[in-house]
């Protein structure tokens, strides 16, 4: 953990760059005075309006649910297949070409195919998003599975530790750094793709709303919605991912 500079709490340092960006934005907006560049204060007012009078919470909730479903599916499948491909030469040879293909499949193509083949429904949306994330999780976890310490695996072998315990106590702890990296980059990627898919084939969610406001050139509302989910991302990072990171790395200190 990098130490905070003397006198400045870590929170101030973390948010410093954001505050500077907001300040510059506010100054430029005041100077240009154009509805196509609303000031942060106007966005904040709009955000408040959408929160209290509008349907922002409903759409945010729908998007969050899709993100959560796609995230859980992508991480579970990705970790399982990643371990398998990392530990078995045969599995790796069988699936490697497929993995390269999936890694390079454009999000838009996956979405269109899912909507056409499965239908314009929730299942298709979530599967389309998960399909985009699974291959990157596999690639990460496979690296970790290849780097497992053979000496520790041998301890499990010598003492005939049951397979499930080996997975839980010996294998997964060595993969946590790779899993955390996948979770972080995964959350970011999934957010972005969920919005595109909502724009394409859903009638609610933040992506759908952004499409609607785009038609009216309502930049203030677009930025208010963007700010709302950016805030959620920060909350997830601060309340979920960072504490989890600390917990999993407690033995190092």
């Amino acid at each position: 953990m990098p130490q905070a500079r003397a006198g400045l709490p870590a929170g101030v340092i973390r948010s410093g760059s954001l505050l500077v960006l907001l300040l510059i934005w506010q100054l430029v907006a005041l100077r240009v005075h154009d509805p196509l560049l609303p000031a942060p204060t106007a966005v904040l007012a709009s955000l408040f309006h959408h929160l209290t009078a509008g349907e922002l919470l409903h759409h945010l909730g729908m998007t969050l649910l899709r993100v959560l479903a796609a995230f859980v599916i992508a991480m579970t499948v990705g970790v399982a297949v990643g371990i398998w491909m990392g530990r078995s030469r045969l599995a790796n040879q069988l699936l490697d070409s497929l993995l390269v293909l999936m890694l390079n499949l454009p999000a838009l193509v996956a979405a269109i195919l899912c909507f056409i083949w499965i239908g314009l429904n929730e299942t298709a949306a979530v599967i389309a998003v998960a399909l985009n994330k699974i291959p990157t999780v596999i690639t990460n976890i496979r690296e970790g599975a290849r780097a497992l310490d053979p000496q520790l695996l041998q301890v499990g072998e010598v003492y005939r530790v049951p397979r499930l315990t080996v997975l839980r106590r010996i294998v997964l702890p060595q993969l946590y750094p790779y899993i955390m990296a996948s979770a972080r980059s995964g959350l970011a990627l999934i957010w972005k793709i969920v919005l595109v898919i909502e724009l394409l084939g859903r009638s609610d969610g933040i992506g759908f709303q952004l499409g609607t406001y785009f038609q009216f050139f309502d930049l203030t509302s677009i930025l208010a919605y963007t700010a709302a989910f950016a805030a959620v991302v920060f909350v997830i990072e601060a309340l979920l991912l960072r504490p989890l990171d600390r917990r999993l790395n407690g033995w190092r200190s």
């Binding site: 041998q154 301890v155 072998e157 530790v161 106590r169 010996i170 702890p173 033995w251």
Partner: protein
């Protein structure tokens, strides 16, 4: 298991042109403490893995390993750094109570460390945990792969005491691999000398000492000296390990 019977004709690792092990045949009675001494790289670790049942690809037979309870202590402690000491012990024996763990730790001089993570313990303390771990499964066969290597003399001596105390209860048949002849004479009842790779048995020596002894005891030095003057070819092989492959042939 009343008896350990090892009858290896040859062992060759896949993709290697020469044998790692040659002809190795010996038997041990239940409770025996046998040291296997030979130069580094002679294939002693391979021999232990075969006896433990971890490596079935060899020519010959071993009457132990599979099916019996085998405790294995490695050169390094090999504790899982993300599990505390208690959980490391529970990895091999899941139904241990807190009291049993505290009791075991106290017996190896580590009272109060159950909640510590291994990286906070010294190397000597980690080795005590590794020894205790091997005994918690009530082993019939105990395999020690140079577990006292690179320790200073007082630490090694204290670990010898821990080993003797733990052995007194369970009395597993014990095989200790080492390249330190003094250590072998201090701990074992019998010393098997093996040649450089491919390892063959070249001398089966019964240690003429009894009772607890330390590495630097006069009696151990005397036995060491006598053995060396009777079998000068062994001295050549051990002293020149790595530099003079002809010495033991």
């Amino acid at each position: 298991m009343s008896e350990l019977r090892v009858d290896i004709r040859a062992k060759r690792h896949a993709g290697v042109a020469v044998d790692t092990l040659g002809e190795l045949r010996f038997a041990a009675q239940s409770g025996d403490f046998i040291a296997i001494v030979g130069p580094s790289g002679a294939g002693k670790t391979t021999l232990l893995k075969i006896i433990a049942g971890l490596d079935p690809a060899f020519d010959g037979s071993v009457s132990a390993g599979r099916g019996s309870r085998v405790g294995f202590v490695f050169q390094e402690p090999r504790l899982l750094p993300w599990l505390n000491v208690a959980d490391n012990l529970r990895l091999v024996q899941p139904d241990l109570s807190d009291a049993a763990i505290d009791d075991g730790l106290a017996r190896v001089g580590l009272a109060g460390t159950a909640r510590q993570f291994p990286l906070r313990l010294s190397g000597g303390m980690q080795r005590r945990v590794a020894l205790l771990r091997a005994f918690l499964i009530q082993p019939e066969l105990l395999l020690l792969d140079e577990p006292f290597i690179s320790l200073d003399a007082p630490t090694a001596d204290s670990l010898y005491d821990v080993l003797a105390a733990l052995r007194a209860d369970v009395m597993p048949t014990t095989l200790l691999v080492t390249h330190d002849l003094r250590e072998a004479l201090a701990l074992a009842d019998r010393v098997l000398f093996v040649s450089r790779s491919p390892a063959r048995l070249i001398l089966d020596h019964t240690v003429p000492l009894s009772g607890r002894r330390r590495r630097d005891d006069a009696a151990v030095s005397e036995a060491h000296h006598q053995l060396m003057s009777q079998h000068p070819e062994l001295l050549g092989g051990l002293a020149a390990a790595g530099s003079n492959p002809e010495a033991v042939r």
